[in-house]
Assembly symmetry: C2
Homo-oligomer: 400 residues x 2
């Protein structure tokens, strides 16, 4: 005679039946919760968020507003505004040595690179087919492969060699069912920048196995060490094997615009354009004009941010080396993240939880990025220098 | 010795291997081509497009620009801005008698209702499971079910009874594998508004079979006849069985904003919020503020558009009745479409092709909306009265 409890159980069983296996299998993510804490609790210093702390450039905002006022509130074509696709093609040629023959059939403008990635996966992967993902890697990769009912093959990365990707690993683990590799350089969460030589070795395996590389280059503008960013599609013969994913979110500090793009061989992009109507139709029209303006800005806008991140990176490196509870095996050269190992034998969750409660500093547990991230935390330096300094001082004060 | 041709064949075979079955199975759609023609060829009068010809309301544009200038260029929470979700809950209660207990866990803001629909399907449908779709129906429904590797069960609708949905049909065709029904009233492309009594009969079957209804209410504000729009979730007991999909695109003439939302039981919406990070993360932040302003506008904004559509509808009804090549079995009462039968025995494609070439008028072939749309064309009255009048005069002149 416990009707409420009984009903609750019945209801739960019902929802278990109704919800798809694919969503029930997804791992719990603390990403949204972390974003909320960092926005709501003003006492917490957040080294968590994955977005620039800069606002979008003023000329971008002004031009977006102007286009809204000019009545650009209607649908764009599903592949995006023609003039934006042309500007993207120029940018890819100039900045990335990626040559686009016909922007209208080889580029699709998407809601950030996120939407580009799910569109790319839908276009390539059938149920049960395999996709390589880096582990640790961006927390959405494996669930995205799961959502398209594919199977993610984890590529374990270790800190002692700076989380480098080894081509032999791809060769060894490749089966008849493997279709693609998600590549992410500079990397979220590790900050690793893959060397051109390594990418060329990977390219050899990609040709041998005839795979497609989904090259997530969200952080392309933020490379600080000796290495330069190399777009995978720029390597010899890789045009037919690569979908290049870039976004305005990080390079131009406009994540709230939700504008990215995917570029590649027209056989792939035409299919992506065709299915775009089934995921969101097209990105916001006025925001696409904003993106167009961003691509026309002098390079000084990006350079200024880059220089600021470079200084913060130097500071954070120094501070981590002074922190007894954290250890960096190699200095990360890109993105705006560091991924140090916890020296005390705590799990990522315990450490992040303790640091939040005792020092009021938010770091992201490393296991959010795959099981190989267990024992690590991600720290973002997309935060003012003063705040980074204070965060570490708070941690030291509490014995971390 | 025909290397070029041979290479081309090899390449085609390669792409056939690389592209997923799911995209290769999708039907060819002329939607994007139609949008392009209607925008590019200034001599053509388009009765094609599925979007309002009005611009977004000025207060919406002004507020969006203001929020951009205030630095609202960062990510929102994956479920959307808290204040927008609250405004949506109020709107649903006031306009639709749909009660939302906690806006923060029962609403997700999406990139139009399109994204809401694919998120809803991903959340409910596993590979091989079945979803009922109306035929003729919105051209994206069946491909979307295909994309989530579900199976679309067609519900054939006929013009002689005004394309009504018959509950017995659902009962008969339902199997162990059936999970959901996509409901669309007012309907694109037929303009049909389902009666409350019919919806209640459908609700009985939904309870009996424990299905989820994806209720696409994009055209909720545009009902012109005796019937009123009834939200499926407002019917007795349907809260646990319905995902309500609405959008700002049609009601507020802001399709280029790409803002819609999905509301329902928290067990479903929480999963949708969880997977949102894997499709687009969140909609444009500033555009969400624009949507918030739209929901705060006096009803006169929507009323003015509605009255304008009502007059155009009267005109188009009169003109179709005077057109020998077209026949309307029943007068459609909603959306901004008519779906007349072609009387001459031509296919939809032939007729649309002839009308475009000879009269320079664009209509959409009915088979774009499913095989039961063969022999019909869709005509949109989201066009100025003078243009509607001239389009028909052009057609009459050429003997249509």
């Amino acid at each position: 005679m416990q009707p409420t409890k009984k009903n609750k159980n019945v209801s739960t069983a019902r929802w278990k039946h109704i919800l798809s296996e694919r969503v029930q299998q997804l791992p719990a993510s603390e990403f949204d919760q972390i974003m909320r804490i960092s926005k709501e609790n003003k006492n917490v210093i957040s080294l968590g968020p994955g977005e620039p702390d800069f606002d979008a450039p003023k000329p971008v905002i002004d031009y977006t507003a102007k286009m809204l006022e000019a009545g650009k509130t209607h649908y764009s074509s599903t592949s995006g505004l023609a003039e934006l696709k042309e500007a993207i093609a120029k940018k890819l040629s100039k900045d990335n040595r990626v040559h686009v023959e016909d922007p209208q059939t080889e580029i699709c403008v998407t809601a950030g690179s996120t939407e580009g990635l799910i569109l790319g996966l839908m276009t390539i992967v059938d149920p049960g087919e395999e996709v390589f993902v880096p582990n640790p890697g961006f927390l959405a990769y494996t669930p995205m492969v799961d959502l398209v009912t594919g199977f993610a093959i984890q590529l374990p990365l270790v800190d002692t060699d700076g989380f480098q990707l080894h081509p032999e690993m791809i060769e060894e683990k490749c089966t008849e069912k493997t279709r693609a590799l998600i590549l992410n350089t500079p990397s979220n969460p590790t900050g690793t920048v893959l060397k051109k030589k390594v990418l060329e070795e990977i390219a050899d395996v990609i040709v041998e196995k005839d795979l497609i590389v989904l090259s997530d280059e969200a952080y392309e503008k933020f490379v600080f060490g000796k290495e330069k960013h190399v777009s995978f599609a720029s390597l010899n013969g890789m045009h037919e094997h690569t979908l290049t994913l870039q976004t305005m979110s990080k390079s131009y500090a406009m994540p709230g615009y939700r504008i990215g793009y995917i570029a590649g061989h027209h056989e792939l992009i035409q299919e992506i354009n065709r299915i775009h109507i089934y995921t969101s139709l097209a990105p916001s029209t006025a925001n696409q004009y904003g993106a167009l303006k961003a691509l026309q800005l002098p390079t000084s806008y990006v350079e200024k941010m880059r220089n600021s991140y470079a200084k913060r990176r130097e500071l954070m490196l120094k501070l981590i080396h002074q922190t007894q509870s954290l250890h960096l095996a190699k200095e990360p050269e890109g993105a705006f993240y560091m991924f140090p190992r916890i020296t005390e034998g705590k799990t990522s969750q315990q450490y992040a939880h303790d640091v939040l409660n005792r020092a009021q500093v938010l770091v992201v547990p490393g296991n959010e990025f795959g099981n190989k991230g267990q024992g690590f935390v991600r720290m973002s330096y997309a935060t003012q220098k003063e705040k980074i300094q204070e965060a570490f001082e708070r941690m030291w004060e509490k014995g971390f």
